[in-house]
Amino acid sequence: MTSSVSLPTEPPRDLRFRRRLRIGTSLVELWRARELVRSMAEREMRARYKQTVLGFAWAVVIPVVYMVVFTVFFRRVANVNTRGVPYALFTYVGLLPWTFFSSSLSLGGTSLLTNLSILNKVYCPREIFPFASVSVAAIDTTVATGVLGVLFAVTTFMPKATIVWVPVLLAVQVAFTLGVVLLFSSIIVYVRDLRHLLPIALQLGLFATPVAYGLEAIPSRWQWLYALLNPLGPVIDGYRRTVLFGQAPDMLLLGLSALTATVLLVAGYAAFKRLETGIADVA
């Protein structure tokens, strides 16, 4: 048997717990938990669409409503140059990546908060919650992409062969979205005000991004700065160029976008891993 002796009031400095950032081990752990990401995403999907009449159709309704609203009103107010592409198609191609980003952020940004009861009791890699939310948004967006096929058929407009660029654009888009979601979801646990700021920020973001209008609306000498600040701009512009206009993406702007997206992804993940150590303390 051992009995305690008198203790110092503080632990010695060299004993302090320091969270070491091991991206490699974290990624391995995340890969092992991929089934859990799937389960969480499935749970979110089922819970979301259970007891709703439209069910999965809700994934389509939101972007389609925006498309109709923009087509009816925006086109008349602002004179958007769509280079001969039907406006509905033009804006819907922009709406898809935006909807993915927006629902990723509104689901994923609060994912740690909504799952606090689990975080507090059960250990699992915490990234699974934002990742699951982004997966849900990805599934929704995939479903919504089906409408694009209908639009092509109705307008008898054909996508161009440069569509092969899409995976590159997709990579930048997903990297940027993940980075923002990781950063946001971990900070929001500590600064809960952000939760109320989020819906407004997303509303404004819709108009700060070339969804209803083209990238040409930004003065060309500032476009490089815009690409750095809002990587979605050049991505959406890239989708339009490759799918609708038959051009290659603007490489300089897309490169700047990719730069921001990569920095955000790395920084966001690092911040997430640092901040997750305190989640159970403030919850």
Partner: protein, 395 residues
């Protein structure tokens, strides 16, 4: 690398700040301005201080201590839900934690969907859950309700579902925090039996509870924590008896003497002023002083420390103003060797002496049989047993 099932805490420190208001902007500003002025912030309180222990695979540890002594914080750090401020923990192999088992359940989903989800949350693959599915359902007795949404479950059903999944996950290390508080008696028994099975398979167990008999029944080693520090670490029976003794000593301070009744003297003795012996008479002599004439029922209880008696006797007593002497004789003391406590209280319309410890005494006699692991003995009552053995027809 240590083998699976090894658990170690090395000089773990954890602190919390008492104010939880720093989430708001105005509080942040207040903290900022006081910092600029050089004022001291609210002090940190230590939840754990320099906690160290090591468990080898298959060991079972019972954690006991008063509320707020750091038991649950320690468990959360072992599960990696929380991170220590200093020091480190190591739990090798698959760690299963039963901390509020219903936490992982999602109410919108059915029982079946939840079993898969919760299973994967605890580290099982889909195939493994499928393999154990029927066992889980049978254990939780949810055959009828498995496809119903969990929000329509009773709280007992939710608990059974949660424990069922966790109990069949076969971890290398199992951490259990006070999960048996809910659920009916038969389910508690099955949970304990399941914990015993898991232990027999070589799982390392850390069990936190206020229910001391179940700790004694389940664990071989005990750790008693007090205000974030390990007070005692050793064989479970030794630690438990020390802990019970301290609970009694703490309770003694609470005995108030400002009422109308005051205990003047209490003595416990066996036959002829010897120590009390097993199966022999025990006499409790009490002198009580009353402020006025009153009537009440006097209760005497023998306990192991806490206020829950092993045996209880009572009698109506009339107290005259001044001192009254009461003697109580128990003819055949059914207690084994050990230290016990006499608690007493008077309950009546106008007479009131709160239930509290009055004396401690040692009993001389045979030791109690040691219960096999997993069997809870509620009270240490000694009974003489005569055994016969033979073929059915010869008896």
């Amino acid at each position: 690398m240590s083998p699976d099932g090894t658990v170690a805490a090395k000089q773990v420190w954890k602190r919390f700040r008492p104010d939880r208001r720093r989430v708001r902007l105005s509080d942040q500003l207040a903290i900022l301005t006081s910092r600029i002025r050089g004022e001291a912030r609210l002090p940190w309180t230590w939840a754990l201080r320099d906690v160290s222990f090591a468990l080898s695979p298959g060991e079972s540890l019972g954690l006991m201590g008063a509320n707020g002594c750091g038991k649950s914080t320690l468990l959360k750090i072992l599960t990696r839900v929380m991170y220590p401020y200093a020091g480190g923990v190591d739990a090798v192999g698959r760690v299963g934690a039963l901390i509020e088992v219903t936490a992982g359940l999602h109410t919108e989903l059915s029982g079946r969907e939840n079993i898969f989800l919760y299973g994967s949350l605890l580290g099982l693959s889909r195939r493994e859950v499928t393999r154990r599915f029927d066992d889980i359902i049978a254990f939780a007795e949810l055959e009828q309700a498995v496809d119903r949404q969990v929000k329509h479950y009773s709280s007992g059903m939710k608990m059974r579902l949660g424990f069922g999944v966790a109990a069949f996950l076969e971890p290398d290390v199992l951490l259990v925090d006070e999960v048996l508080a809910v659920g009916d008696a038969s389910f508690q028994q099955r949970c304990l039996a399941r914990m015993r099975e898991v232990l027999a398979q070589g799982t390392t167990l850390v069990y936190v509870s206020h229910d001391l008999p179940t700790i004694e029944a389940t664990c071989a080693r005990g750790v008693w924590m007090e205000r974030g520090v390990i007070r005692l670490d050793g064989p479970v029976r030794d630690v438990l008896s020390e802990y019970r003794r301290s609970v009694e000593a703490g309770a003694e301070l609470q005995l108030r003497d400002d009422g109308d009744l005051r205990v003047v003297k209490v003595g416990v003795s066996g036959e002829g002023d010897r120590l009390p012996h097993t199966k022999e008479p025990l006499t409790a002599s009490i002198v009580i002083e009353a402020a006025r004439d009153m009537q009440g029922r006097l209760f005497l209880g023998v306990t192991e420390g806490p206020g829950t008696p092993v045996l209880l006797v009572s009698r109506d007593v009339h107290f005259d103003e001044g001192k009254t002497s009461v003697q109580c004789r128990i003819e055949e003391l059914p207690l084994p060797r050990g230290r016990f406590y006499l608690w007493m209280g008077v309950f009546g319309k106008r007479a009131d002496l709160p239930w509290g410890p009055a004396a401690e005494f040692d009993v001389v006699g045979p030791d109690l049989e040691t219960a096999p692991r997993g069997i809870v003995r509620l009270a240490p009552v000694y009974a003489e047993a005569k055994w016969e053995q033979g073929r059915p027809e010869s008896l």
